[in-house]
């Protein structure tokens, strides 16, 4: 009985795949990562669609407010842009001098 069972176990053992199979594991993980990527793309796509739809819905209310704000902020934004340009030019001067 024990001998027969041992023989049975030995026969079963002959059909076992290797304990480590890098190819199989890599294939599984490639499929897992592909699925994760697809889910991420679908999530970002869905979020973008929801955002676009929300913007489209509130645009009639948002547009006049943006126009009003932009008129008031235009001088400030122009000033900030000029300051940013000046800073960029001043920071690049030593480099220009060295070269």
């Amino acid at each position: 009985m024990d001998e027969a069972e041992d023989r049975l176990k030995a026969l079963f053992a002959l059909d076992e795949p290797p304990a480590r199979d890098v190819v199989f594991s890599a294939e599984v993980m490639a499929r897992v990562l592909r699925r994760e990527f697809r889910i991420e793309v679908a999530t970002v796509g869905a979020a973008s669609l929801v955002g676009a739809a929300a913007l489209w819905a509130v645009w009639p209310v948002l547009q006049p407010a943006l126009v009003a704000i932009s008129h008031g902020l235009a001088p400030t934004i122009a000033g900030l842009a000029l300051a940013a340009c000046l800073i960029a030019v001043l920071q690049s001067r030593p480099l220009t001098a060295e070269s």
Binding site: M1, A4, L8, A13, D15, E16, V28, V32, R35
Partner: protein, 177 residues
């Protein structure tokens, strides 16, 4: 850290979203899952496809795995359900049944008579009985662990294993006393 402890740590990390931890789980359990599916469905290529599907499903459901549960039993359970789903699909089942016999000579090239006999008798066992034999006689699962994996009552598993063992030993020329 023992094997169960390492599994628990890897499951916890995978549940937190670590694909590296899941990759380690795949490495650790691919042999058990593939062996079980090879013995259960008979067709090695189909078994490996099912094993890949099993791990994909496991990744999706990893958060449902309770702490301390046997990972290999859980994976074999998913694999068994995948196998049953495939077999229940009528056309695929017919193809698989035909492939079982048609595939034998190719798979059996260079094999001993005993191995061919074992494969033939395993193929003749009912699916549930074959799964119980594959887990308890070939993979050293306890009856309780196999019952948990296959979703069967403990008594049914014991009975399947006993009948399966008798059939296999008789076919291999031994007596089951």
């Amino acid at each position: 850290m023992n094997a169960a402890g390492l599994d628990e740590a890897l499951v916890a990390a995978a549940q937190a979203g670590s694909t590296d931890a899941f990759s380690r789980l795949v490495e650790r359990h691919q042999q058990a899952v593939r062996s079980f599916l090879r013995r259960t469905c008979g067709d090695w290529a189909a078994a490996d496809d099912l094993a890949q599907e099993t791990f994909l499903a496991a990744w999706s459901r990893i958060r449902r795995l309770e702490q301390g549960a046997s990972v290999r039993a859980w994976l074999c359970g998913i694999g068994y359900n995948k196998h049953l789903t495939a077999v229940r699909s009528a056309s695929r089942a017919r193809t698989r049944d035909a492939a079982w016999e048609a595939g034998r000579p190719v798979i059996g090239v260079g094999r001993s008579d005993d191995r061919l006999t074992l494969e033939r008798v395993m193929g003749e066992l009912p699916a549930e009985q074959r799964a119980c034999v594959a887990l308890c006689l070939a993979a050293d699962f306890s009856h309780a662990e196999a019952a948990d994996a296959l979703g069967l009552p403990l008594g049914t598993v014991k009975s399947h294993v006993s009948r399966g063992r008798t059939r296999l030993l008789q076919a291999l020329g031994g007596s089951d006393g």
